[in-house]
């Protein structure tokens, strides 16, 4: 799907403004990247980095630097429930942002000290 999407004839190619995309986007994105780093530091410092969501975030973050395209799509898929059957009942709780296998226990917190 990835390559077919990028080859779509309907895809829009605006006048090249590559320099401006970097000029406008770099500082806000730099700030978000540092927020991610600070969050990972924070959960480690407080000993809660074993939470499955933190583990999912670390795994997803690795996709940022793997040199392959469509990082946003692949990160979203990485964080998604991969199963296909409907759930028997609702948990009554809100989605958490990362999928946890029902069979998986809570990962032990990773402590640096």
């Amino acid at each position: 799907m990835a390559s077919s999407r990028q080859k779509k004839s309907s895809a829009i190619r605006p006048a090249p403004r590559a320099g401006e995309i970097v000029d406008l986007g770099f500082i806000p994105v730099r700030a978000k990247l540092i927020e991610v780093a600070a969050f990972l530091d924070r959960v480690e410092r407080h000993g809660v980095d074993g939470d499955f969501r933190c583990a999912a975030l670390r795994t997803a973050a690795a996709l940022l630097a793997d040199g392959r395209p469509e990082r946003a799509r692949r990160i979203l898929e990485q964080l998604s429930d991969p199963t296909t059957e409907p759930e028997p009942v609702s948990s009554g709780k809100a989605a958490l942002g990362a999928w946890r296998s029902p069979g998986a226990g809570r990962t032990a917190p990773h402590r640096r000290r």
């Binding site: 999407r5 779509k8 605006p14 401006e20 296909t84 409907p86 759930e87 989605a95 990362a98």
Partner: protein, 270 residues
């Protein structure tokens, strides 16, 4: 500039928001039925809500010269109670001929349960039986991909569903192409912390093309921005997209989809 807000929960917003939207160029706002932040306890609660969507809110918007349209349904978050869902579904036809009603929505899935799928199927049947447009909510966060697959399979297997009359909302990078490939319309929701940001929305338009896509703020009582759609026009212009491109995505596209309902009218011709 001119734009349509095709998905805004205005009952949760202040009149200041109406004023800001009109000032920014909004020509019409469309309000799907949604979850109130708590589960309604009886069908009479839904009757009151549908009256709010079809009587009170259009009058409030009219004070700002803004046409207001609505969609009716039981939100998927309240679909676990099948008995209540049946009663609400039986109530909806009473309201379908109201002058501002566009169709059935926002139906869909929340946690991808069997009961939610059952109620979604009943809503689709209702829409087909009454020849209504359909607006579909896709689940949040980690549930979106699976829910979108289930929704697409259900809709595609129904012989009465015409994909060009269905919009699948809240798509992101991992779901948009699946929706478009099946012939449906796709809605991109602009939220500060989840769903899509303006830069990501424009990325999706550049990659997937601008056909059968609309943008919306889905502003409600949570973290959301009723001006997210016009703000995204700035991102388009910064990247060098033309005013025609901006107008096509923010105005002509939603008008094209919504005009399939004869009740939808805007003053400006497409």
């Amino acid at each position: 500039m001119r734009y349509i807000e095709p998905h805004g929960h205005m009952v949760s917003r202040t009149t200041d928001d109406y004023q800001a939207m009109v000032t920014a160029g909004c020509r019409a706002v469309c309000e799907p039925a949604f979850w109130a932040g708590f589960d309604r306890g009886s069908v009479s609660g839904f009757r009151d809500y549908f009256r709010q969507l079809t009587e009170y809110e259009p009058a409030r918007a009219a004070k700002f010269l803004l046409p207001h349209y609505s969609w009716l349904c039981l939100n998927p978050k309240e679909s676990e109670d099948l008995a209540l869902a049946r009663d609400v579904l039986a109530l909806i036809p009473e309201f379908l001929q109201r002058p501002n009603v566009l169709g059935i929505g926002e139906i869909g899935l929340n946690r991808n349960t069997r009961n939610e799928l059952t109620v979604l199927e009943h809503h689709v049947e209702l829409a087909v039986r009454h020849d209504q447009l359909i607006l579909v909510h896709t689940p949040h966060l980690e549930d979106k991909l699976k829910g979108t697959r289930l929704i697409l399979d259900l809709l595609s297997s129904h012989p009465g569903v015409r994909p060009e009359r269905v919009i699948i909302d809240h798509v992101e990078e991992h779901t948009i192409q699946r929706v478009l490939d099946r012939g449906f319309w796709a809605g991109i929701t602009l939220y500060p912390d989840s769903k899509s940001s303006p830069p990501r929305a424009v990325d999706m338009l550049e990659i997937c093309g601008r056909e059968r896509i609309w943008l919306n703020s889905a502003c409600d009582w949570g973290v959301s921005d009723p001006l997210a759609v016009p703000k995204t026009a700035l991102e388009m212009r910064r990247r060098g997209h033309s005013e025609d491109f901006v107008d096509a995505v923010l105005y002509r596209n939603p008008v094209r989809f919504l005009s399939q309902c004869p009740r939808f009218r805007v003053a400006d011709a497409p």
